[in-house]
Symmetry: C2
Subunit: 380 residues, 2 copies
């Protein structure tokens, strides 16, 4: 087990009806918030109204800033920071999934600095402060509601970079599983794949010493995603399964799944970011394309680890069978397990490889150019 | 899954050599600390010296307050609070196991109040403030290093009450597994039993709805304790196994093992506290006496849950066999599984029952007087 430091101050309010607490949570921190969200769907499903009621009841003014898209864009975050400055807001209320929360974190830095947001992400400038962030999660997947990370795409360069800073832990995140009952089958598949990818990145890329707690923690995350999906395939509005999936998503990327892991790499995320940046597909779809290919590429080198994993997840020790079972699970829930199945018949492997290597330079990687190219080829 | 709120701001610095960070962590909070510990053992094993070096290097004065015993006493905490007041310390540095940390938490409230510590624990007075607490953990077991609870014994009344308040989360806890290499075989057995008891209290007493993540989290804690002990029985100074056990202890009682559990009860703790209070045996020994008896008493009523548990832990679905295997494990590591095996030939079941019911009144219980008495009888 390797040395680590862990501190995660985010307050989670979890459960049916938790949404109504949001105003009370913000009140000690802000009189005026930037209320960020994506599309107008929150106005159709009643979430918007409930939030406004809670803000009004606590005398909190709000400036709306919507239009945040999946794979959020630097240009939109920059504009959000300008608006936050112009209206002099005290905090940010992000309502949505990981993309909305991630862009809101970027805005929270830009809103209190003269530097450009991208300078922070390139680590040219250190974060000294940020506006307090509050979140209402509507699509559980990225864990952004209980971590200090974000992923942002610079559309001028196609760079989609992951980055984090300890100022960016949300103060409070509302996890109300009722808000997730309307998540589509497709989105459930993609987000479930993302949760699994978060769970296993460290598990498969770190040095494997004696860490039964940590190993079991990760295996349990994956089993939990599968268990929720088995229920949701038959009953997509099952609140228990939605609740379990929501909490599993948070616990998969709040830092606990790599406490003691030591050095590890985000192989699948490094290689996925160029796919969604170029082809505009969902991040989880890109991960589903890559994960079985990654496993096949490393099936000899990481045989023991993969065998342990599949034994825990499917009670199957044979790695080839295990990969097939994992692929079957992804297909059953509706995630594409190859470029072709995602409708990308001829992926530009040269360009993908170039961008993945650039992403690797930014965050660090153990993958060579040959590894990256070969895995993309296996995923065609 | 039931509603919950979770917030745990304690910073954990984990790993070999982490001890030297303590002064740097305290510095922003305090110029003078009350340095609390138990016996002089920390002076023999070099911990004391390293702490003093780290405090000196950061210009932090310290007032020593030692003599904290297992099952810490109200009278000693009261005296500690007087000393903290007299010397006007800014913070408390607790070095030891759960008892030292628990008493230090009590001192941290008493040091800044005109009320008596016991008034807070009886919930007659609300905590408004407390001194910041820093801990160096030397005996992993209670999770007190990352929670806001404490257990204190009022020796005038034999009341051993558990209680908590959100002001009592340590600011920083140093978890240096090297400091635990010298934990005795006996203490390892008792603390391991305590960790298992923390893990399962909610698992066995709550309403069991669909919660695969939570169930698996708890089962993993127990498997992890067993895995570390299998190694430690052969090699008591194995740093990997000590590390895994240390982190498992923290993760077993920092709140995560009952996020979403809803209402639950501390049956084993409720019934153990009178045993250690009257007979002065280790808390973990008392738990080992009780847990198999508790399982036997509830083996019909909670058959399904016990079967799920033993399937996960021992791959054994039969409850009788499972209880026997659990008992065998406890005996193998050196924990007594009955009053007799702990050298208590004729436990005063009337008195134990009376005290356990009083403890149940304080914290809430689902056990009737008949349940309590019967379980004690089964444990003879």
């Amino acid at each position: 087990m390797k040395n680590f430091t862990y501190k995660n101050p985010t307050k989670i309010i979890f459960g049916k009806g938790a949404l109504k607490e949001i105003g009370k949570e913000i009140k000690p921190y802000a009189k005026k918030v930037l209320f960020t969200y994506g599309k107008s769907s929150i106005k159709q499903n009643g979430i918007y109204e409930k939030i406004i009621d809670s803000l009004d009841a606590n005398d909190i003014e709000y400036i709306e800033y919507s239009g945040i898209q999946s794979n959020p864009l630097l240009s939109h975050a920059r504009k959000g920071a300008e608006i936050a400055k112009k209206y002099n807001v005290d905090a940010i209320l992000a309502v949505g999934g990981g993309s909305v929360i991630d862009e809101s974190k970027a805005i929270s830095i830009g809103a209190v600095s003269e530097n450009d947001i991208w300078e922070f992400i390139l680590r040219e400038v250190k974060v000294e402060k940020a506006l307090p962030i509050f979140t209402v999660l509507t699509i559980p997947a990225t864990g952004s509601e209980m971590n200090c990370g974000l992923v942002l795409t610079n559309e001028e360069t196609y760079d989609k970079f992951g980055w984090g800073d300890e100022h960016l832990y949300p103060v409070t995140s509302i996890l109300d599983p009722e808000l997730t009952l309307t998540v589509s089958k497709e989105q459930t598949a993609y987000t479930s794949t993302d949760i699994i990818a978060h769970s296993v990145e460290a598990y498969f890329t770190r040095e494997n010493d004696f860490t039964p707690f940590l190993d079991g923690y990760v295996e349990n995350l994956v089993k939990s995603v599968i268990a929720s999906n088995e229920v949701l395939l038959k009953d997509s509005k099952n609140l228990d399964a939605r609740s379990n999936l929501m909490w599993t998503a948070t616990m998969a990327w709040n830092g606990l799944n790599h406490c003691g892991a030591g050095k590890f790499y985000l192989n699948n995320h490094q290689m996925e970011h160029p796919i969604s940046a170029i082809y505009g597909i969902a991040h989880g779809a890109g991960l589903a394309i890559l994960m079985p290919a990654w496993m096949r590429y490393f099936k000899i080198q990481k045989k023991e680890r993969l065998s342990k994993f599949f034994k825990a997840i499917f009670n199957e020790e044979d790695v080839d069978n295990g990969i097939k079972m994992f692929e079957d699970f992804l297909e059953k829930i509706g995630a594409p397990t190859s470029f072709k199945k995602a409708g990308i018949d001829e992926p530009d492997i040269e360009e993908l490889t170039k961008l993945a290597m650039k992403g690797g330079e930014h965050r660090g990687t153990n993958l060579s150019k040959k590894d990256v190219k070969s895995i993309y080829e296996l995923a065609v």
